[in-house]
Amino acid sequence: MSFLGYVRPDGSVGTRNYVLVIPQGIIAKSICDFVPGTRTLITADHGSGRTKNDRETIARILIGLGKNPNAASVIVHAASPGVGYPELYAERLADEIRQSGKRVELLDPGKDGGTYGAIVKGIRLARQMVYEASTLRREPVGDEHLSLGVKCGYSDTTSGIAGNPAVGYLFDKIVSAGGTAMFGETTEIIGAEQAVARRAVTPEIGRAILDAVARREALAMATGLDIRTVNPVPANIKGGLSSLEEKSLGAVHKAGTAPIQGMLRYAERPPKPGLYFVDNWMGSLSIFGGYAAAGANLVLFQLGGGGLSGRTLLESCPSVLAPFLWATANPKTYAAATDSVDFYSGTVIEGTESPEEAGERFYRIVTDIASGTVARSETVAYTEPLEMYLQEPRF
């Protein structure tokens, strides 16, 4: 057995035990401010004026968060600007989340006495649901119930040498135990895409990954810009990275060595366990919410940080339900922000630990946090808004 988690009716396992209130807005925020043990999301992406595809992405996020094993039960309200669209009807969101077997309650200001009435009803429901959730106990389960999502950011040359390889070791270990691991950031495999595509379990999946990269590169070319004025971002260049290719070749080390079972859309749930490439965007306010909606019960930010200065406190990026871990291999970053960092692998560069020893230590930290030890970011009550990765024009 590897960690202690909350076993849900559909067999998935939570590393946390929240009551989720969705979508964003004054009703959800008021309920969550009143009732400890609840979670909601903050976002400006509510669907109004968005295309059908983008509305389906928003629905995928909300439904996916509802189904995430870290939610014990869910309250859905019908008061967002987007809920007039069929894709975002509160009933539709609730019905799909109910397929996971968990308790789902609906609030409708039209029937529940307006905004004030819906808030009061929601508070009563949430208090009861938090109580019910608290009666559940963690049980020992295996690594096959871990689902991880990773991003590497503020990358520097330590990322490719020792930071991402430690994530790769962790991913290999979880995937070989039957668990799930997701990586992505399509722009940031440009220059390394052949090596990624070769690892796909079928030629079709490999082709799909190459096509996704070609679409991103074509969009970049169409700007007429040297991509280096955009990405690598200034912090990467300050950290010693000289080209997008160099950044990508270091970045893909976080994917370990397991075969790639498929390519997923942003916030799409993997059909079965294994390693997946996600065709998503690197934005730190965007990517982790997408992983949580895809079922991740723990997410990781592998931080370079060579180009960061003065950042001694690292708050979490919005992952809504999934505990959020900071990892770095840069000794300067670690020295500056020691009390925010969950895992440090600069020891590999310093020669005091082998990559395998660092990877094993990372694994123990991850399973401890999955079992209820707080991630350092969970000791900071600050949340950025979630920026959903919506790609079509607005009207």
Partner: protein, 102 residues
């Protein structure tokens, strides 16, 4: 003074990454298998930045992780810093696109 450390990621690499602050003129040791290769830094190489392991002619590929990370935009001398001032990225270069969108 003890030699400073830099790392290569693959035997084919023609650059190494400094994992200490290296001053101009200092000796740099790079582990290769069970032995080392050494060279002198021709200029300061900050932590995390790359040093050329050989003379790299203009337009020649720069190799790290055994893969191409760009081309030399100017001739690069052994022992000097390799970064955006002398390494040209070759991917997603919209500015080099003939008849580009702009």
């Amino acid at each position: 003074m003890p030699a400073k450390r830099a790392l290569i990621m693959h035997p084919d690499d023609n650059v190494a990454t400094a994992v200490e602050e290296i001053a101009s003129g200092e000796e740099v040791r790079i582990p290769v298998g069970t032995s080392f290769r050494t060279l002198a830094a021709a200029e300061a190489i900050p932590f995390g930045f790359k040093i050329a392991l050989a003379d790299i002619p203009r337009e020649a590929v720069i190799v790290k992780y055994g893969e191409t990370i760009g081309k030399a935009g100017v001739p690069i001398a052994k022992g000097t810093l390799v970064h955006i001032h002398n390494l040209e990225g070759t991917r997603a270069r919209g500015d080099l696109e003939k008849g580009g969108a702009r």
